[in-house]
């Protein structure tokens, strides 16, 4: 039996019944990485030695009867997450030799839970991009068709889970960087509410938008991971003190009578007809499960990308100002093109004479977009819509046209602008490539999104489909 294909919930039972050890499972993943990653390029650093050491310790605990949910489970992390003693690059040559002196809070939580880090994933440099092509370590390939992009910026973490190179992967979502690649690779991806998970020790992109989420093979697994990562952290002043719900029991509830909004602005002419059909079919399924689909309007949706590319680049220009090559990292000449573009755009919108017309105005429209959602959530419990306007595109197609790349974020940036959670789940295929559905809810409503997603996955099998990869 191939244990690398199982969900966390499934493999947990195998580990606890001693059908497989954590060391064997870890070796199985490392072997797949060794065979497949030359083609996929999902990893920048593979931590074989450390992983086997952690797995051995996990096996000792399992032998003593410890059945903690993530104990002995192999995972990977986007290279934005600082890992003490293990190179962390953020996908950029600026940090190609950087060895962090401390670990991100999320990584410490993983270590405490006994999860096994098998490697650090490739990504668009600094998390800037929607295709994975902006990595200074080469593009990551979509496992469903190697000529296609996997989405971005969390390209490597998504492919790592989709191609069974890790059991789950932790990543970051600032404008869609988890939900979009999840959709394009046919897996489950969660962007939590802003502040639900600590940002401490993660390379900062745009601090008022950055959220720490993850990729999994099922919604059930996604809930399991969030129950470990969520919670207040004194090292992140914007992390929330709200209690963390018991997600595992919430997702078992049915969705009868739940009101799910269908925003008309997300089903316009810019949406690929196959994607539209797939998402509508999935919404029909939710109706069959007892939910009520209600037409709603989010009138400021069209301004989302504009607002995002002003405010986000302003924050990027400030966060990337610290990379001066003095205390760590290489000098500023080593920034790639996309980082340079964003630094300049951000510097411009904050500059004297342009601040009011660009930055301040965008902050006001951010309020209007938040209000759109506030009004909608008075009528509905959640919203269902597409993740990406198209399925995955061919490598190279948009790489020289930054604006076309930015517009790929059109249905995902709004959640980051409003700070609300978003869950992407597989909903079907278009021209042989995966298509996801996005569920959005009010701030701190991850439990409702998990519930809808889990009930959907109990009656559909899109999330169990696997790409055909030669091993």
């Amino acid at each position: 039996m191939d244990f690398t294909r199982l969900t966390i919930a499934q493999v947990r039972k195998k580990l606890d019944r001693k059908e497989i050890s954590s060391v064997e499972l870890t070796k199985a993943y490392l072997e797949r990485i060794g065979k497949l990653d030359r083609k996929l390029n999902a990893y920048i650093t593979v931590t074989e030695k450390e992983a086997l050491h952690t797995a051995k310790k996990a096996d000792e605990k399992i032998a003593q009867g410890d059945a903690s949910p993530l104990l002995g489970i192999p995972f990977s992390a986007k290279d934005m997450y600082l890992t003490k003693g293990i190179r962390t690059t953020a996908g950029s040559k600026v940090l190609e030799n950087y060895i962090p002196q401390y670990s991100a809070t999320v990584l410490e939580k993983m270590e405490h839970a006994g999860a096994v880090l098998v490697g650090k994933n490739n990504q668009d440099a600094w998390a800037h991009g929607a295709s994975g092509e902006h990595s200074d370590f080469g593009p990551t390939k979509n496992p469903w068709n190697l000529a296609y992009i996997p989405g971005g910026s969390s390209s490597g973490p998504a492919v790592s889970v989709a191609a069974d190179l890790a059991s789950f992967a932790i990543a970051t979502d600032t404008g869609g960087s988890i939900r979009q690649p999840a959709s394009l690779c046919g897996i489950t991806g969660l962007k939590p509410t802003y502040g639900r998970v600590s940002r401490y020790g993660v390379v900062a992109m745009a601090s008022s938008f950055d959220t720490m989420g993850h990729f999994t093979r099922s919604v059930e697994d996604s809930a399991l991971i969030l129950s470990v990562t969520a919670g207040y952290d004194e090292h992140d002043a914007t992390s929330s003190e709200k209690p963390v719900p018991h997600y595992a029991s919430e997702l078992k509830k049915n969705i009868k009578g739940l009101k799910i909004g269908m925003p008309k602005e997300y089903f316009t002419s810019g949406l690929d007809s196959n994607v539209s059909k797939t998402v509508k079919t999935a919404m029909h399924k939710l109706e069959e499960l007892g939910a009520e689909i209600i037409p709603i309007s989010l009138p400021h949706t069209q301004y989302g990308v504009g607002v995002y590319y002003i405010l986000q680049t302003a924050e990027v220009s400030s966060n990337l100002a610290r990379y001066d090559g003095i205390r760590y990292g290489n000098n500023r000449e080593t920034f790639g093109d996309e980082a340079k573009r964003r630094i300049m755009l951000g510097t411009f919108v904050l500059a004297h004479g342009y601040y009011d017309a660009y930055y301040k105005r965008a902050m006001k429209i951010r309020t209007l977009i938040r209000q759109d959602f506030d009004i909608a959530f008075r009528k509905v419990d959640a919203i269902a819509c597409p993740v990406s306007p198209t399925p995955a595109w061919k490598i190279g197609e948009k790489v020289s046209d930054p604006l076309a790349m930015y517009l790929a974020d059109i249905f995902t940036v709004t959640a980051n602008i409003a700070g609300i959670p978003g869950l992407a789940i597989p909903a079907g295929f278009a021209m042989g490539m995966p298509v996801g559905m996005q569920l959005l809810g009010p701030q701190f409503s991850e439990d409702i999104l998990f519930r809808i997603g889990h009930q959907y996955q109990l009656t559909t099998d899109w999330h169990t489909r696997k790409p055909d990869l030669p091993v």
Binding site: T238, Y303, R327, F335, M344, L345, T367
Partner: protein, 92 residues
């Protein structure tokens, strides 16, 4: 509007080649044109959003904790002098 790449790159301390200046000027001017759409939105009487979950200033207790050692802090650079970071002269 034409994007003044040379001026902005200087503000952002970004060394650029001549070829980069030309490419970025075209690309960034295109992006600025796209965002002019925002000028049509009525924002009178609308407040600004800087923080989305409604947090206000938060302070932590002022206590001394263990931190990284000087050796750890300077471990990632080749520019040190007597265990300190070495930088270029500021007033040269």
């Amino acid at each position: 509007m034409k994007f003044d790449v040379i001026h902005i790159a200087k503000l952002a301390n970004l060394p650029l080649t001549e070829k980069e200046v030309t490419t970025f000027e075209e690309q960034l001017s295109g992006i600025l044109e796209y965002v002019t759409e925002l000028q049509t939105v009525d924002v009178s009487d609308v407040g600004e959003t800087a923080q989305v979950t409604g947090l206000t200033n938060r302070s932590r207790s002022d206590r001394v904790e263990d931190s990284l050692s000087q050796e750890e802090v300077t471990s990632q650079t080749s520019c040190t002098y007597n265990g300190l970071f070495k930088v270029k002269a500021i007033f040269a």
